[in-house]
């Protein structure tokens, strides 16, 4: 590190790191310099000129924009001089002459930097008597964001964000001089998954979001800082008025999301206010809330009747005939409570939060983990083996993009198709589905004389040169049309590489917490197994299961075979989400007592016998574990609808009906009980989570080891008439939260099949044509689109979108899946 530099601001000597921007150095020293265009997460542009101050570097004082100047030794800065004040007054006056003073009807009024800084630094009255500039008010730039160009002060924040931060340069400056405006290209909306961020960073009311427009005045909002329970654990402010959540705003958390959110997260607050929320326990019955175990519909009930029904069913059964599916939606505390109920009170190990489409638990718990910051470190190499982060892990996409573009990290893309990061990747190795393991082995070993898995040997050689330094593998399942073994093979190859760690691209929000809390067969809380953890937990819990239970596939199979009495669904919809919907349907049809704990009446909930309404994350407190293992606080802001309860409280109540005491009366009690029992959570308690907004990072390795897969993966021979299938998720799909948010639901396009245009000619089909796609297990009709980001010989199908349901094509055991396209002529 180089020596600190000393400079003088308003007569005071200040030391700071060399290279610090003057505006930041002054702020650190307690001198706030007004600004509009400057944003600490974007490159300076020096556009608004609000931050100009008199700076003397030995050649006499001169006005300089402090947002573009780095501090140098001996620099003398005057932020209060007459010249500085006159210039800043002048700039504010310039910004205001064409700004409509419609603050009383402007959404930004009350939290508006222009308003605030005019009060603090600006002139009292306008000398501008001419007519202001006019534009049509407001124009939509996409489905959710509106632009009022009259209010815009052209600070370049939104346009820089779109271009630099997220790589969607779809809004731009048009025209020049006083006519300069921000706008989209004609006929091309600002179709970005991240557009809501521009509303948050707009320093005036030019950009507003439809879901919040005219809903509340900023001074009527109350907020708590919380965590969005997605895999990244994005830090957010939950803002509400009159017990209604009205807005989510990103919080600038340095290790996580840097203040950014995807629109999917930002606008999903509407789902939690939805009229479709479950508000009361439901049981089987008929007519006007007549409870009847044989009734063919769900009727409103009360907690005591519903819980008694569940307890009776559990008490009448054997532990091995009881199973729990799901739990990745829950807080850590609720996960512990349900695990303790299932494994420690009832004594069943049939508990699985992974649902068969994540990486296996031994990989998630056994691979050496990297943090997001470690993955993004300057000079490091990132290897992406998994889903497109832009589609599935929005803020991770932003962080990785920044690491590559600004911090000199190198990216190797080892994915079946191009991703949102392809354009900035140093190496793009698009392995054929099922063959990513072979490509990874060739890459790591450096032995790639010939082509491997459809990737030219020379490309692998070139990528190999990037593996000298620290490596982070972003590992996840890129496609559910291939089994997990190839991905595990790839992980195994990289595990042998020096200085390599893994950042796990999981699918569901709190999967890491679920595993840490033991919600998987054979696991106990604290990243330990039934065998190793028995001693500790046996002393505190009434019981500990003797044998390893069933995973999701086995639970559904058992249910379908009539081997289950009670199936508890913890915020999961197997009918909509399980890889094998027919098996899920059979399991729900056959199991005598299906209990659903959920927020919404999903198809699976409607098929349940008892429904217990749960509180959303805005309505209960606890904590969340993100993909790094970082535990951050979730804080209640509003009250749950009806009689819905926190998930942990439902588990605790149910335990009471079973004659047991979970010993949990608040979410904080969980940590008091768990910390002494868990080898990895010794330093974690509710106070520690509450005290640090960056949370507690649980880095200790547990007792679960990575299991190398059988290397001899059988691949079906390539067939010249077939396409190898990739089934991947998109940002907007039929997921419950998207569909329950009115402003998001419309963004989910119907399912389509995407194929390289080269293959169109080869197969004799036309873009947009309806075709029949046939696999060994099923067939479906779907529209086919040309997409040259898809390699030749590969077909990509959207998972969980409306229209054709690709699950009929899938074979969960197949290493790779070939499909044929039939045109019916």
């Amino acid at each position: 590190m180089s020596e600190p530099v000393t400079f003088t601001v308003d007569g005071a000597q200040v030391r700071t790191e060399p290279g610090t921007l003057l505006i930041t150095a002054c702020e650190d020293a307690g001198v706030y310099i007004p600004r509009f265009c400057h944003h600490e997460r974007m490159n300076p542009v020096g556009m608004c000129r609000m931050c100009i101050v008199e700076v003397d570097i030995g050649r006499g004082p001169a006005l300089q924009p402090s947002c573009m100047l780095t501090v140098s030794e001996g620099m003398v800065v005057h932020t209060e001089s007459e010249v500085t004040k006159k210039a800043q007054d002048g700039v504010l006056e310039f910004l205001l002459i064409n700004h409509p003073l419609d603050c009383p009807v402007c959404d930004k009024g009350g939290e508006c930097p222009l308003q605030d800084q005019t009060m603090a630094y600006g002139p009292g009255e306008s000398r501008f008597v001419e007519e202001k500039r006019h534009f049509a008010k407001p124009i939509p730039v996409n489905a959710n964001v509106l632009l009022d160009r009259e209010r815009c002060i052209l600070c370049d924040r939104c346009t820089r964000f779109a271009d630099e931060v997220v790589g969607d340069p779809l809004i731009h400056f048009l025209d020049r001089g006083n006519e300069t405006q921000v706008n989209t290209f004609p006929d091309q909306p600002f179709a970005s998954y991240f557009s809501g961020n521009t509303v948050q960073i707009c320093p005036v009311g030019a950009l507003t979001a439809k879901p919040f427009r005219f809903k509340a005045r900023p001074w009527d909002l109350e907020e708590v800082v919380s965590t969005y329970p997605n895999p990244m654990g994005d830090r957010i402010a939950v803002q509400s008025s009159r017990d209604q959540v009205l807005r989510f705003q990103g919080i600038d958390s340095d290790p996580v999301n840097w203040g950014w959110l995807t629109d999917k997260e930002r606008f999903s607050f509407e789902a939690f206010q939805s009229d479709h929320r479950l508000t009361d326990p439901l049981v089987r019955g008929h007519g006007l809330n007549q409870a009847d175990p044989d009734g063919d519909e769900l009727v409103a009930s009360n907690w005591s009747r519903a819980l008694q029904t569940v307890a009776d069913a559990i008490a009448a059964s054997e532990p091995e005939r009881i199973a729990f599916l799901g739990g990745a939606r829950l807080t850590n505390e609720a996960q512990y409570a349900w695990t303790k109920l299932a494994k420690g009170v009832i004594g069943t190990d049939n508990v699985d939060a992974l649902l068969g489409d994540e990486l296996p638990a031994h990989a998630l718990l056994g691979l050496p983990r990297a943090t997001i910051d470690e993955a993004c470190r300057p000079g490091g190499t990132i290897v992406l083996i998994g889903p497109d982060p832009k589609e599935q892990l929005g803020t991770l996409y932003i962080r990785l993009r920044h690491a590559v573009l600004e911090d000199g990290a190198e990216l190797i893309e080892l994915t079946p198709t191009a991703t949102g990061l392809s354009s900035i990747a140093a190496a793009r190795l698009h392995a054929r589905p099922g063959e990513v393991g072979a490509v990874a082995r060739a890459l790591v070993s450096g032995q790639a004389a010939a082509d491997v898995g459809g990737v030219p040997g020379a490309d692998i050689e070139a990528a190999r040169a990037l593996l000298g330094g620290p490596v982070t593998v972003v590992l996840g399942r890129a496609s559910v049309a291939e089994s997990v073994e190839p991905t595990l093979e790839a992980a195994e190859a990289f595990r042998g590489l020096e200085d390599t760690r893994f950042l796990l691209a999981i699918r569901r929000g709190n999967t890491m917490g679920a595993l840490d809390m033991g919600m998987h067969p054979g696991l106990l809380p604290g990243r330990t197994t039934l065998g190793t953890g028995r001693g500790a937990f046996g002393g505190v819990w009434p019981t500990v299961p003797e044998t390893v239970g069933s995973d999701t596939a086995a639970i559904l199979a058992a249910g379908a075979a009539g081997e289950l009495d009670v199936l508890v669904l913890l915020g999961v919809d197997p009918l909509g989400d399980a890889l094998d919907p027919e098996l899920a349907q059979a399991a729900l049809d056959t199991t005598p007592t299906v209990v659903a704990v959920d927020l919404f009446p999903t198809p699976s909930v409607r098929a349940a016998h008892v429904v217990l309404p749960a509180a959303a994350f805005t309505e209960s407190s606890g904590s969340h574990t993100n993909l790094e293992g970082r535990i951050t606080a979730i804080r209640q802001k509003v009250t749950p609808p009806g009689t819905a309860r926190a998930d942990w409280a439902i588990a605790a109540e149910l335990a009471g009906y079973l004659g047991a005491d979970l010993g949990i009366e608040s979410h904080a009690d969980v940590w008091a009980e768990l910390a002494p029992l868990s080898a990895v959570h010794r330093d974690v308690d509710a106070a520690a989570i509450e005290a640090d907004e960056d949370g507690v990072l649980v880095t200790a390795t547990g007792r679960v080891s990575f299991e190398a897969p059988d290397r001899h993966v059988e691949l079906s021979p390539l067939d010249a008439y077939a396409l190898r299938l990739v089934a991947s998720r998109r940002m907007y799909d039929q997921g419950t939260l998207v569909q329950q948010s009115p402003h998001l639901a419309g963004l989910a396009a119907p399912s389509s099949l995407r194929v390289n245009s080269y293959d169109f000619n080869r197969l004799g089909v036309d873009p947009g044509q309806e075709v029949r796609v046939v696999s060994a297990t099923g067939a479906l009709d779907i529209g086919v689109l040309a997409d040259d980001s898809v390699p030749r010989g590969v077909a990509v199908i959207d998972y969980n979108r409306s229209g054709a349901d690709c699950r009929v094509l899938l074979d969960p055991d197949a290493t790779s899946l070939d499909v044929r396209i039939e045109t019916g002529t």
């Binding site: 020096g46 556009m47 608004c48 000129r49 609000m50 100009i52 001169a62 006005l63 924009p65 573009m68 010249v83 006159k86 210039a87 007054d89 002048g90 700039v91 006056e93 310039f94 910004l95 002459i97 064409n98 000398r127 501008f128 008597v129 001419e130 002060i153 052209l154 731009h172 400056f173 025209d175 020049r176 001089g177 006083n178 006519e179 300069t180």
Partner: protein, 443 residues
């Protein structure tokens, strides 16, 4: 000095019908300088240019030889960018240089590339200059075919590509960092210096030299005749010859190459063989000595020599070499509005003081012209100017990134200082008689 006695360095082929063709250019000594330069070391070529004390002809007047020396050693690639985005009102010398003698510019560019050891040159020509673009494109084709440009020039190790790029019609792109932005495919907006001094961080983030068309057109002559011979002409730092574009109320508006530094404003404006005096025998009211951005000069400045330091000291600049003459029939307020309107329309929109300030100034002037002026408007005009260019000093201080904003300030400050009575006449409702007097005086 009669035309016969004047030494013509850059405009020598303007009367030659085929001067723009390779044959015509070669017949009159074309590309001999390139051959000579290739026999010299690059450093020796650079030294000749340094000795010549060739001032940049684009506006700022910075010595080209010194500028070339700013390229950091051993940083590659590096680029030469030729600024042919001549747009300053009243300036039209580069256009004619490109139309009448494109090979001279190409030869100068290639020699410059040789001197600086670089292989790529971008020739940025203003969007509206279609004829110049055609002439340069045709000349480039000829030069490539003849082996003066391209791979292994004249059989040597030197390989230089010259890429012709058309602008899209923005005045601001004449500013070198905005030109670089435009060349990169971005919206033409200036970059902040520091850190974006082109010689350090220029085109594509690499060291870049940006030279004006006329500057480079001088290079072949300097190589052929030596820097000493060039420096022997002119006065003090202003050496060689320079092209001035004279327009406005003169008998013979046009472009004239005269000895730099020794010729006076009176010579060029009043000289029989040059602009030929004020039209119709009218009186001189004011003249702009160096493009619309420059503060105005008057009768008492006529005997100043066209020399950079002298003009700077007198409170204006030679700038782009555009002399705009206004006779006594000129309405100072209208003239002022005309110039300010240009800058308001051409502001790129980046810095608030320029974007909002110049158009505000224009609106105030328009209001005064429409008879809705207020007595406080002169103070308001000057205070708005002060917020764009604090202190209204010369050379200007600025609250903006580039000098476009302050450019609009100069004519207002000049006009109000000298012709406040004309503003007052508009404001008080009794418009002064300049227009009527002008009608009489007009020929």
């Amino acid at each position: 000095m009669s035309p016969a006695e004047r030494v013509l360095i850059t405009t020598s082929r303007w009367d030659q019908a085929d001067g723009h063709t390779l044959a015509g250019y070669e017949r009159t000594g074309g590309y001999t300088a390139l051959k000579r330069a290739l026999e010299m070391t690059p450093a020796a070529v650079h030294e000749e240019v340094r000795t010549a004390s060739l001032l940049g002809r684009g506006g700022a007047g910075f010595p080209a030889g010194v500028k070339w020396g700013f390229l950091p050693a051993e940083v590659w690639p590096r680029y030469l960018v030729v600024n042919g985005d001549e747009s300053e009102p009243g300036t039209y010398k580069d256009r004619i240089l490109m139309e009448r003698d494109p090979h001279q510019l190409i030869e100068g560019s290639v020699i410059t590339c040789y001197a600086m050891g670089l292989t790529q040159c971008f020739l940025y020509v203003r969007g509206e200059m279609a004829f110049a673009q055609e002439r340069i494109a045709a000349a480039l084709d000829e030069a490539y075919d003849a082996g003066y440009v391209g791979r292994n020039i004249l059989g040597t190790e030197l390989s230089v590509d010259v890429i012709l790029h058309w602008g899209a019609g923005a005045y601001i792109v004449g500013e070198e960092t905005a030109l670089i932005e435009s060349l990169e495919g971005n919206r033409g907006m200036p970059r902040l210096k520091p850190p974006f001094f082109p010689a350090a961080i220029g085109l594509y983030g690499q060291p870049t030299i940006v030279n004006n068309v006329e500057t480079l057109a001088n290079i072949p002559w300097i190589v052929n005749n030596g820097g000493e011979a060039f420096a022997a002409m002119g006065a003090d730092a202003s050496t060689g010859t320079r092209i001035f574009a004279v327009s406005g109320h003169v008998q013979k508006p046009g472009v004239y190459e005269v000895e730099f530094g020794t010729t006076t404003f009176r010579d060029i404006i009043m000289g029989e063989d040059l602009a030929g005096g004020i039209r119709g025998g009218n009186d001189l009211k004011a003249f702009i000595p160096g493009g619309a951005s420059a503060p105005w000069f008057y009768e008492e400045h006529l005997d100043l020599p066209l020399e950079k330091a002298v003009v700077d000291k007198a409170g204006s600049m030679l700038g782009s070499g555009a002399i705009v003459v206004m006779d006594h029939t000129t309405d100072a307020v209208k003239a002022c509005h005309n110039v300010v309107r240009f800058f308001a329309r051409e502001s790129c929109g980046k810095c608030s003081p320029c974007r909002e300030g110049t158009s505000w100034l224009e609106k105030i002037l328009l209001r005064i012209l429409a008879g809705h002026g207020r007595r406080s408007d002169l103070d308001l005009l000057l205070d708005v100017c002060d917020n764009i260019s604090p202190g209204l000093d010369w050379p200007p201080k600025q609250t903006t990134i580039c000098p476009l904003g302050p450019s609009a300030v100069a004519p207002i400050a000049s006009a109000i200082e000298r012709f406040a009575d004309e503003f007052h006449a508009y404001i008080e409702g009794n418009r002064l008689s300049v227009t009527a007097a002008g009608a009489e005086g007009q020929a």
